[in-house]
């Protein structure tokens, strides 16, 4: 078991966003959570990632976690290369492993030519590629993806699924949250978040 949520509840100004949400993820699985806009999907992801706390309930993590937020959260003034260096310090990745990981991610998502470009000069799609690459940099055992393919072109969208397939095979538990899931057969399980409860 990589992740276990028990009775997670969250309210904002007395309005219940999540009501006793429970589920668990096993290694090497791909799980989806769908829900309408404002259904609490991103709140749930932020709770799992440790960004915000739940009002009640418990979360158990086992292993390294990678979190890709819905909007690219990056530093506008530094380059793609500098982002990799900065986040590698956070993940405690040594320089040899870092260069191998960076090579792989730049090649797979096809944005090597922007390696030395500042984020403020990147397109939305390339920012999203970097946003995702940061979550993947340390080869996580649990990957939390909040609307991960926002802004991707078709080719990158296919590459994204190709990459997640490889991760799954290596034993990574992947949680994808989206308002729309087309590739249902790729998922081991899909939950629907409705009125704050998982169905």
């Amino acid at each position: 078991m990589i992740l276990k949520l028990e009775n997670i509840s969250k309210s904002y100004a007395k309005k219940a966003i999540l009501k006793e949400v429970s589920f668990q993820l096993q290694a090497g699985t791909l799980t989806g959570i769908v829900g309408e806009n404002g259904s609490g999907k991103s709140t749930l992801m932020r709770i799992i990632a440790g960004d915000i706390s739940a009002n009640q309930g418990s979360i158990q993590h086992n292993g390294r976690t990678g979190y890709c937020p819905q909007e690219p959260i990056l530093f506008p003034e530094i380059t793609v290369q500098e982002h990799f260096r900065y986040f590698s310090a956070a993940y405690d990745i040594n320089s040899k492993t870092l260069s191998l990981r960076v090579e792989e991610l730049l090649d797979h998502f096809n944005y090597r030519k922007y390696y030395k470009t500042r984020v403020s000069n990147l397109s939305g799609g390339t920012r999203q590629k970097l946003n995702l690459s940061i979550a993947l940099l340390h080869e996580p055992e649990l990957l939390i993806l909040d609307e991960p393919y926002n802004g991707f072109d078709w080719d990158t969208y296919l590459k994204f699924w190709d990459y997640t397939k490889g991760l799954k095979e290596k034993g990574c538990a992947i949680l994808v949250v989206s308002h729309l899931i087309n590739e249902k057969k790729k998922f081991d399980q899909i939950y629907k978040l409705e009125n704050g409860s998982l169905k």
């Binding site: 440790g50 960004d51 979190y67 530093f75 530094i78 260096r85 986040f87 956070a90």
Partner: protein, 253 residues
């Protein structure tokens, strides 16, 4: 706490700061504009003013222009450092939180921000110190420059406290500009201070001790140790508030 993380963060924060053109423009322009305005507008008449931190009855007589140069150099140092400190702590708040989610400890990030702030304070104090000496005579240039670093420390810590407490950029800038304007830009002016009806209120404001220290070191041989220690204490209070708020806001849940 890992040194390599602090080093990486330190170099990244410095890069980000130097790549913001507005930062360099403000640093170069504000003191030059302030001091040039004094040069072109202030009178040479001699006026008496009180050095309240030295003693109740300690007055010195100096030309209005000389006093204004010192006063405006203190004001520009306070404003610049306060604005930059606010920028350091508030800008990229979400990306900093992401770094913490990825493994950085809030104290590692805060240490880097503080180191950048110290470097910024020293550079701004030296730059404004040199500029002021080019415009007017200062009795103790090194001590005077250190007093500029003191106002930088007090107002830098204030900027950090505001940046930690207030989420909105505009509201935070308003809070910084408001206090800098009222305190450094108006009430600490020796010309105003000497004739003020209620000096106690002015003495409780953050710029009081650094302003006094700068006047003492610019024009007299009196000691400014007491004023400097009080200024450090004032700055430390703001700094501790900002560190605590930053830590509790940024820690992982």
């Amino acid at each position: 706490m890992k040194i390599n993380r602090i080093n990486t963060s330190l170099s990244m924060i410095l890069k980000m700061l130097l790549r913001r053109k507005i930062v360099l423009i403000l640093i170069l322009l504000i003191p030059t504009v302030f001091l040039s305005i004094v040069e072109f507008t202030s009178a040479e008449r001699v006026i008496p003013f009180q050095l309240a931190s030295v003693g109740e009855q300690v007055f010195i007589n100096m030309p209005e222009k000389s006093i204004s140069f010192i006063f405006f150099s203190v004001a520009s140092a306070g404003f610049l450092v306060s604005f930059l400190a606010l920028n350091l702590i508030q800008k990229n708040h979400k990306a900093n939180k992401r770094l913490i989610l990825c493994g950085y400890h809030p104290i590692e990030l805060l240490s880097s921000i503080l180191l950048v702030l110290i470097v910024t304070i020293l550079l701004i104090a030296i730059y404004i110190g040199i500029l002021t000496i080019a415009f007017t005579h200062v009795d103790h240039p090194v001590s005077f420059t250190l007093s500029l670093a003191l106002i930088g420390f007090v107002y830098g810590s204030y900027g950090m406290a505001v940046g930690s407490l207030v989420k909105g950029e505009l509201e935070a800038i308003l809070l910084v500009v408001l206090l800098v304007n009222i305190d450094v830009g108006w009430l600490q002016n020796p010309i105003f201070y000497a004739g003020a009806q209620n000096q106690v209120i002015i003495e409780f404001l953050p710029a009081y001790f650094p302003s006094q220290a700068s006047m003492v070191k610019a024009f007299t041989n009196y000691s400014a140790i007491s004023a400097s220690l009080y200024a450090l204490l004032y700055g430390m209070i703001f700094l501790i508030i900002s560190m605590l708020v930053f830590f509790f806001k940024m820690r992982t849940k």
